[in-house]
Symmetry: C2
Subunit: 769 residues, 2 copies
């Protein structure tokens, strides 16, 4: 049977007899789910170990409790807000599906998947944060005795987040696949999981936006009024905003990035399963379950990687963390190779090529991390050039930082381009034995395997990332409770390693978002094809489906697609602008409150009375939650608006239909002789793809520019160009402050935006047709 016809006929649930699945193949689902459960248990054990640690002096506990209360208060209010938004969107999605006759049967499933995705993401964020805000004081306390103990406490605390995030993504997708009948209808059910990715994205968007606004508003506000106006050092307990600043590290870096990576793995799981379904004739259900197995490997490798990390009191903690990462990467690669040879194999398949796709993905991750280091570490040219430019004042520091930021996308874009081209090529070669399948489908599957390869160490990377805010908090607790200099040295070392890991994971996150983007486009195109096929088939004899038709034509030369592309790129700029302005406004409220507190209570500066930390925390919480709504609604609303507008007006512009029929041969699907209107779907695809490209570049500019400014300041503080208090340092502080909302609010929120665009278009595709 011709493959094109076969896939064309595949996607109407009603019409296709269920495909009996070899029960030994479905075992893979249970293996993956089993590992997921074990990983949760491991996370629980790790959490118990961390929580059993010593909690230091009463003074330290008081500080830690204040952070914990602030973080938990923010999270609970944030989740309430997100919950309300999620329910509203769930209702919209449900009726969106229900209004289209073809999708009525999946309406409820999509909403269930959406809610499960949202809840799992929330749960993962909450659990990770629950542990990390308790790990901070244990790390601080351990630093009083041994660097190794402190390092292990922080990394293990971080590992809880890493394991819970990946395991819940795996279990959520796996469970939905099973309960939706995936073992009976393996080729249809992956499409019904798109809601899971969207739910994860939605929570991630608000978690990252709200957390990002919170953390930088508190940071900038505390610095402006504390360091600049009052002349007190960072983390000084007299500063009423100091606790809000420490809370921010948790809710921004920890909960935010956790939600970001949860979304990445969720979207990648679902997208790769959809592409696996398109290759069902080659791999059967094993191709669909492969992404889940990859994440099971990811979990096992990461647990071992975390377990082997130990250090002594003289070593740079970063070396110990890197050792753990290398162990994880080698194990993940070995596991990946085994999985490829066991699952993606068979007559006509050359698994070597497919394994090579995975290696390309892993290599891409390494290169992204290396490029991020090059642009943000003080030993290389970019940071040095910013530090040197600080000699002539803040203006040249800023110009130089922006120039570095604009340079940063060049190398990553070349790496991503090479990775896409190579993995596509390997996909085509690896499946060359199937002449009936288009090279396009084979190549795209190659890029999907590369994405899985890149994400195959995600749990360890996330552990390293969450290590950052834990050590940052530990340092703050030590600083505020006036511990010994030698203890402070240890936490400073850890804090510095934490800053590095935070920067590197940002490189990793944007790299995986870039690679996953192409996978998600392809899934979107498959989704549109599946809906059109079902529509035409539902029309019975009035419908005509050209043999082997696919929706793979996102033609930039069509006006609606071009307009969609323009709007998509514009969205990334406007969204960033709103996020940055939100930080500015919220920071002003912090400044105002701190000034008020200093005025109302002169005892604070004298050190005779305590500032009201909670008041400041509560103000930032309220403002950040309010500010996250507008950019969030813009991100959700614009793609929907474009899809709906061009669905209704596109026939005027001939998008997706007229251009295809212009040659006089009917090669578009028709119902009653009228071509199916693909204008809305095409315009949205243009928005998605060009929005993604623009978002990736802008995020790199902001993340790396911000990181470079930060480290230029730190480098000057080591004594370069006059060291602390020199004019160069003052100029560098300006750059650092500018970089803060770039690298910790707008940049990371753009990662999430890119993936949200992909998942929202996947879920709402039926509305655009």
């Amino acid at each position: 049977m011709h493959f094109g016809v076969l896939t064309a006929a595949l996607f109407t649930l009603q019409d296709i007899p269920s495909t009996p699945v070899n029960s030994s193949d479905s075992l893979w689902l249970w293996i993956a789910m089993g590992v997921g459960v074990l990983a949760l248990i491991a996370a629980f054990v790790l959490a118990r170990i961390v929580l059993a640690g010593d909690t230091g002096t009463a003074e330290m506990q008081a500080i830690s409790n204040a952070i914990r209360e602030g973080a938990e208060a923010f999270l609970s209010r944030q989740y309430r807000t997100i919950g309300i938004l999620a329910v509203v969107i769930a209702i919209v999605v449900f009726f969106g599906y229900y209004l289209s006759p073809r999708t009525q049967d999946v309406a409820l499933k999509t909403v269930i998947a959406f809610l499960v995705g949202a809840i799992c993401s929330g749960l993962a964020g909450f659990t990770g944060m629950y542990v990390s805000i308790r790990a901070n004081i244990r790390t601080a306390s351990a630093a009083r005795t041994s660097l190794n103990k402190a390092l292990q406490a922080a990394l293990r605390g971080g590992a809880v987040t890493g394991l819970v995030v990946v395991a819940l993504s795996l279990l959520g997708v796996g469970a939905l696949f099973f309960f939706f009948g995936g073992l009976d209808h393996p080729r249809q059910v992956p499409y019904q999981l798109v809601g899971f990715g969207f739910g994860a994205s939605l929570v991630a968007l608000f978690a990252q936006l709200g957390g990002g606004i919170y953390t930088k508003a508190a940071d900038v506000g505390a610095d402006l009024v504390g360091k600049v106006e009052a002349g007190i050092p960072e983390d000084d307990p007299r500063n009423p905003a100091v606790i809000a600043d420490l809370v921010g590290d948790n809710v921004g870096d920890c909960a935010g990035r956790g939600a970001d990576i949860f979304e990445s793995t969720a979207a990648e799981n679902v997208g790769a399963m959809i592409l696996g379904a398109a290759l069902y004739p080659v791999f059967g259900i094993k191709g669909i379950l492969f992404p889940l197995i990859v994440h099971a490997i990811n979990l096992v490798a990461s647990i071992i990687g975390v377990a082997v990390v130990k250090t002594n009191d003289t070593e740079d903690p970063m070396s110990a963390l890197n050792r753990g990462f290398y162990v994880t990467a080698v194990l993940a690669l070995a596991g990946f190779a085994t999985a490829v040879y066991m699952m993606l194999n068979g007559p006509g398949v050359q698994p070597m090529y497919l394994l090579f796709c995975g290696i390309i993905g892993l290599a891409t991750a390494f290169l992204f991390v290396w490029i991020t280091q090059y642009y943000t570490e003080s030993k290389y040219r970019p940071v040095k050039s910013i530090a040197e430019a600080s000699l002539t004042g803040p203006a040249t520091n800023i110009i130089s930082g922006l120039a570095v930021g604009m340079e940063t996308p060049a190398m990553p874009v070349i790496v991503i381009s090479a990775a896409l081209l190579l993995s596509y090529y390997c996909g085509v070669q690896g499946l060359a034995g199937f002449p009936g399948i288009s090279d396009y489908a084979k190549g795209i599957y190659g890029t999907a395997i590369a994405t899985m390869g890149m994400l195959s160490c995600a749990a360890y990377i996330l552990a390293m990332d969450t290590f950052g805010p834990i050590t940052d908090n530990a340092g703050g607790i030590i600083e505020m409770s006036n511990q010994d200099e030698s203890v402070r040295d240890k936490t400073d070392k850890l804090d510095s390693a934490g800053n590095t890991t935070k920067a590197l994971t940002k490189g990793y996150a944007i790299g995986s978002a870039s690679l996953a983007a192409f996978l998600l486009f392809s899934a979107y195109l498959e989704e549109i094809k599946s809906i059109v096929t079902a529509k035409v088939s539902a029309a019975g004899s009035a419908g005509y489906m050209p043999p082997g038709w696919s929706f793979t034509n996102i033609n930039l030369a069509e006006i609606p697609v071009f307009v969609g592309a323009l709007l998509g790129a514009m969205l990334t700029y406007l969204f960033s602008s709103l996020a940055i302005k939100a930080v500015g406004r919220t920071a002003q409220m912090v400044v105002k409150d701190v000034r008020d507190q200093f005025r109302e209570n002169p005892g604070i500066m004298a050190g005779t009375s305590k500032p009201d930390y909670a008041r400041c925390v509560s103000i930032v919480t309220g403002a950040a939650l309010k500010e996250m709504v507008l950019p969030g609604i813009l991100a959700v609303g614009l793609p929907v608006a474009v899809g709906l507008i061009f669905r209704n007006f596109s026939s005027t512009y001939g998008a997706g239909s007229e251009v295809l029929t212009r040659n006089g041969i009917l090669n578009v699907p028709t119902i009653n002789g009228v071509p199916v209107n693909l204008g809305g779907a095409s315009a949205v695809a243009g928005l998605l793809m060009v929005g993604t490209i623009s978002g990736i570049l802008l995020a790199m500019l902001m993340n790396n520019g911000g990181g470079a400014w930060d480290n230029a300041k730190k480098w000057i503080e080591t004594g370069q160009y006059g060291g602390k208090k020199s004019d160069a340092h003052k100029a560098a502080v300006v750059g650092d402050t500018v970089g803060d909302p770039f690298k910790d609010t707008a940049g990371p929120s753009l990662h999430v935006l890119i993936k949200l665009l992909a998942t929202i278009t996947l879920v709402l595709a039926p509305l655009f047709l």
Copy 2:
């Protein structure tokens, strides 16, 4: 005869019998050319009038002479550099064409067109500058007696640039059309003119880059060492860099923007003629000559507009300039309407709709100018918010300015989207009487008419723009020659109006570049179609051409197109980064030289001896010319590299061929049964389109962000937030300095880059196949 088949057969010069052109129709060519010659005469007369003006005191003359010598020295060295590059590129283009059998016959014509375009652009730049560096002192001298005389001297000096630029573009295209035999082969010759646009683009790129680097390096360098280190005011004659700064205004703003608009009109003329050729069955040669007539109208309307401008000593000069603009716009519109009804008319055409396209273009120009005002004038929220943020220091000033900059693309993108959709719609409606022509071709022609409408006031706009550097220079001459306070008041008024016009023209330039971009894409697609058609037809019976085939499929879902798109967007960032860094490096050389001069000759600061202005001018000249080469080569090299790489490797990735044949129906052109490889052409199109989108947005960010910073500083100087010398003012100066290379180097260079990408791909299209 079916239109598709007709156009498919059109484009091989050898095969098609010449189409006899109605001689009354060819009269339009002579009318347009005649007006072009008259406009040159008018420019000559205007120049005579301006040059007849009084040249002030000996002290003023000494300053003016120094500016003139510096500007002329720069221009002559710059043109030598550009000349060498142009000859090298001409040779490459010639052999590029000559290696492809189909294009051998046009190889020489393309090179001739390229060189004519480059020479005309250089000539226009040189003439405009020749007059404006002489108009500055006449303006300064006139300001000693009457504001009206000064205003008229400056505007008329600027009008010489405006008229020469538009007239040379018109005459160059018209003459080439005639000498290449356009009256005999009207449907083929427009394709042979693409070299003219490329020549103009190449000169414009280097003129804008070199001039932009020069002007801002001198400005930033002079400020850093003069205002900040030595504590002397702007334009103080003791500053050795002050003449270089004034020279910079001429070579950057005046010669640079002149080349930019020359390129816009040239590219628009050629692109619109190609689209006119595609609609030959409807309008005949009149559709091809229409763009030339529009520019003839532009010239007449602008001459009258300039002539009516007069003011009195109390009025805001901006009101007088605006009156002239309104007169020009009304006349241009009336002329445009007449031309539409006389030329774009006939059975089946509804000229009302086509006129409406032109109105849409003009309205777009107005809206762009209004939006630019909104974002850059101190009476609106954005500038006010930056000024307010300056209260908390330079960091918040910068954050706020960047947030404003990132917000700016939103409204223009919506305007451009609406303009594209509406003009496309009107194009389809206006030509609804021709069922044989695809809606796509009709709609695209509608967008082309809108672009012509937008550019129909270009000469006046350019006069207003060149008014800026002339009044800026006049102010500097008055300042340096210690004139009376009342004279200074007059030049300050003019200078302030000049700053406004400079900002507005930047809005206009980016608006026209955005709208022209779509026209140029379409011309590129037509060009590819024409080459493929010729190739297939040259293969005789071995070739197969699907009926009505067009190259209109730039499919972002194909890996090579997506990679091209990623690289195109990346190019705009890297190019901007290089331009900004070039300013920084050159400014450092200025700082060093000024410091050296102060040290070597203490009499300078004491006011007892003159600084060596020429030494500083010569240093900036050399550095700016060196620095413009790398970004220039990147801009030229990357599209060529992408085209060549994917031409050779694309078959692996199935771009432009496999996807189209996937449905099993052969709807691609083949030779010996092998599909023509369109991978290179597709990847380049992706680069072009997404590079353009990214470039437009980035340019808006930089132009408007820079303008807003500038005016926030100026607003504070009027006494807001503590006025001059307050901390808020210091913070605002930082923002202004950061904005300088944004708004005067990188932003304007991006306008040119966008158009260069379009013209280089048009010219080198044969290499990509």
